[in-house]
């Protein structure tokens, strides 16, 4: 690291859980509805209403907490976090304070490009809470009012708080990517950042050595980062800004209160926002309207057993049992479970995991990328691609024409045998090929002379001619035979 400081990063991630209805009432959580059409007396905080916990939301939160290796306490409760804001109709948010539903977990991150050592990022806690509404301020329409849409109010969120274990924006991004992958694998969230299903705040400060003392700069919380790229950029910007500020002011941790800054993606800077209220200002107290929840060790076990193979385990299987490189395993796993399942079927059916990996990571992913499609709609079934690989291996489809066959199978939805037949691909018999090369040599004395004079590249001229006579010839074999037969003729 070239900087004279160490960047210390902790992340706070809010994930919307995949439920049909809200956390404490039965209003829909569907994104994109007309403003204020998905609210009821419970979520807009009318007096006399009572919240009831959504069973599915609790289940998804528990599943996530277990997947994040958290401890699940037997007893958890919900608290009121009180603050006054126009998008919070009750005047408090139902959240969890001192007895969260999970704590002390971790998520392992690594980088196949080797930019950082694999590490375990601690998870301080993951707790279940409700979302607030949305305020829209239309500057163009005059600055007088903001419009409040309460559709999102009461949507279930899981707040996941990491330890300050990350030391670069690259690690922070890797953490977010791995977290998102995990959440989508276990199906608890769609993690769609555009729709606000995944939101990230970052806490960052610097550790540096000054007059042989280890000191830290004041912690800054960064908000309003709307993509992983934005998180990366904001953290890099903020680290450099804090170093400049420290050089100017010499202020250390404790000399200034924790500051909140918003990321401006267009300007590429962070800007100061209101100073953070002390946690005691939220005047948390247990929500008397909600019953606490107890979870037994047996229930936690059952959840653990239901998780299925997690991304880290899958990578390990691909590198160990299938002998793929870390890089290839990472590419496959990062595409999501459906693509991995496709790969596994191709590998099994063809009996050649490496060739299967090459076809899937190169040709299949290229097509999906070009077409913006997903594997679910890919026209070549996994078994068909497996057949293609087997056909090549058995020598019935030259490598040079394999891609043509692949494209025809894809475009016309054919199996490999039909595609090969339609392309007129036939295995060229070796004696037939020898006869053809001999004919070409006889007709091209100059080429023969060149080869005999040691200019082996002259054989290349014969490949084109051979392909014109018979499209199925293997160009490499034509080259080999041309050289061999020309030189034999010499003796």
């Amino acid at each position: 690291m070239s900087e004279p400081y160490t960047t210390v990063i902790g992340l706070e991630v809010h994930v919307q859980l995949l439920t049909e209805s809200k956390l404490f009432c039965r209003c829909s959580t569907k994104f994109g509805a007309e403003p204020n059409t998905q609210t009821c007396p419970v979520c807009i905080g009318m007096p006399g209403t009572l919240p009831v916990m959504n069973r599915k939301a609790y289940g998804l939160a528990l599943k996530t907490a277990v997947a994040l290796n958290c401890n699940i306490p037997e007893f958890t409760k919900w608290d009121r976090k009180q603050y006054y804001y126009p998008d919070l109709p009750k005047g408090y948010q139902i959240s969890q304070y001192d007895l969260p539903m999970s704590a002390d977990g971790y998520l392992e991150i690594s980088d196949p490009k080797g930019r950082f050592e694999p590490k375990r990022v601690g998870i301080i806690r993951a707790h279940l809470e409700e979302d607030a509404g949305k305020s829209v301020h239309d500057e163009a329409a005059g600055k007088a009012d903001s419009e409040i849409d309460l559709n999102r109010t009461g949507t279930p969120l899981l707040e996941i708080v990491s330890q300050p274990d990350m030391r670069s924006s690259t690690e922070a991004k890797a953490f977010l990517q791995e977290l998102k992958l995990l959440l989508t694998y276990i199906g608890v969230s769609d993690c769609n950042m555009q729709e606000g299903s995944l939101r990230v705040d970052g806490n960052v400060n610097l550790h540096l050595d000054h007059n042989s003392q280890r000191i830290a700069t004041p912690i800054v919380e960064i908000k309003n980062m709307n993509s992983f790229r934005a998180v990366e950029r904001a953290l890099d910007y903020e680290a450099a800004r804090q170093y400049r500020e420290w050089q100017e002011t010499g202020r250390n941790l404790g000399d200034a209160p924790k500051q909140t800054r918003g990321w401006d993606d267009v300007a590429g800077v962070t800007r100061g926002q209101r100073s953070k209220e002390e946690s005691s200002d939220y005047r948390y107290f247990p929500d008397p309207d909600l019953a606490p929840v107890t979870t037994t060790a047996t229930e936690v076990q059952a959840v653990r057993a239901s998780l299925g193979e997690l991304p880290a385990e899958l990578r390990l299987r691909l590198t160990e049992a299938f002998e793929l490189s870390d890089y290839d395993a990472d590419v496959l796993v990062n595409q999501g479970r459906p693509l991995v399942d496709y790969y596994l079927e191709v590998a099994e059916h063809s009996g050649d995991p490496k060739a299967a990996c090459n076809w899937v990571t190169q040709d299949v992913l290229r097509v999906l990328g070009d077409e913006g499609a997903t594997i679910e709609s890919f026209p070549i079934a996994a078994k068909q691609l497996g057949d293609l690989i087997t056909t090549i291996r058995e020598g019935n489809l030259p490598n040079t024409r394999a891609r043509e066959a692949f494209n025809l199978m894809r475009q016309s939805r054919l199996d490999v045998a039909t595609a090969i037949a339609q392309l007129g691909i036939q295995k060229v018999d070796e004696s037939e090929l020898i006869a053809l090369v001999n004919e070409l040599l006889a007709a091209n004395p100059k080429t023969v002379a060149d080869i005999r004079a040691g200019k082996l590249q002259a054989a290349g001229a014969l490949i084109g001619q051979a392909k014109k006579r018979n499209a199925n010839v293997d160009p490499n074999r034509v080259r080999e035979l041309s050289i061999e037969l020309a030189q034999q003729g010499e003796g």
């Binding site: 439920t19 049909e20 209805s21 039965r26 209003c27 829909s28 007309e34 403003p35 204020n36 059409t37 998905q38 609210t39 009821c40 007396p41 807009i44 009831v52 916990m53 959504n54 069973r55 599915k56 939301a57 609790y58 007893f75 409760k77 009180q82 603050y83 006054y84 804001y85 126009p86 998008d87 005047g91 007895l99 305020s135 829209v136 301020h137 600055k143 007088a144 009012d145 903001s146 419009e147 409040i148 849409d149 309460l150 908000k223 309003n224 918003g262 926002q273 209101r274 200002d281 005047r283 247990p286 008397p288 909600l290 019953a291 606490p292 929840v293 107890t294």
Partner: protein, 95 residues
């Protein structure tokens, strides 16, 4: 002892604007309320488990199924100001 500064702070957090005389009255009244509740501190609670809820019920859940929401006109009906689509409030800036 509850001070006038405490009441001012709580009033600010609750966005209540109190006049001088209201602050005076409320400081006295709140102090009395807190003092009343404080009597509970005299009870010996050694060995008593703290409780999180007044009733001994746990695990009350509802199934995750959507039911109709309020019509928008009804939701907005009692808002001091609205535009038929959303609640209108003084400008929210900075976030």
């Amino acid at each position: 002892m509850l001070t006038r500064a405490d009441v001012e702070k709580v009033a600010l957090l609750a966005r209540l604007r109190l006049s001088e005389s209201e602050l005076e009255t409320l400081t006295g009244q709140l102090a009395q309320i807190v003092g009343y509740v404080d009597q509970l501190a005299e009870v010996n609670t050694d060995g008593v488990e703290p409780m999180a809820h007044a009733v001994e019920v746990t695990n009350v859940f509802a199934e995750d199924s959507v039911e109709p929401s309020l019509p928008r006109e009804a939701a907005l009906a009692n808002a001091p100001r609205h535009n038929g689509r959303g609640y209108l409030v003084p400008a929210v800036l900075g976030e």
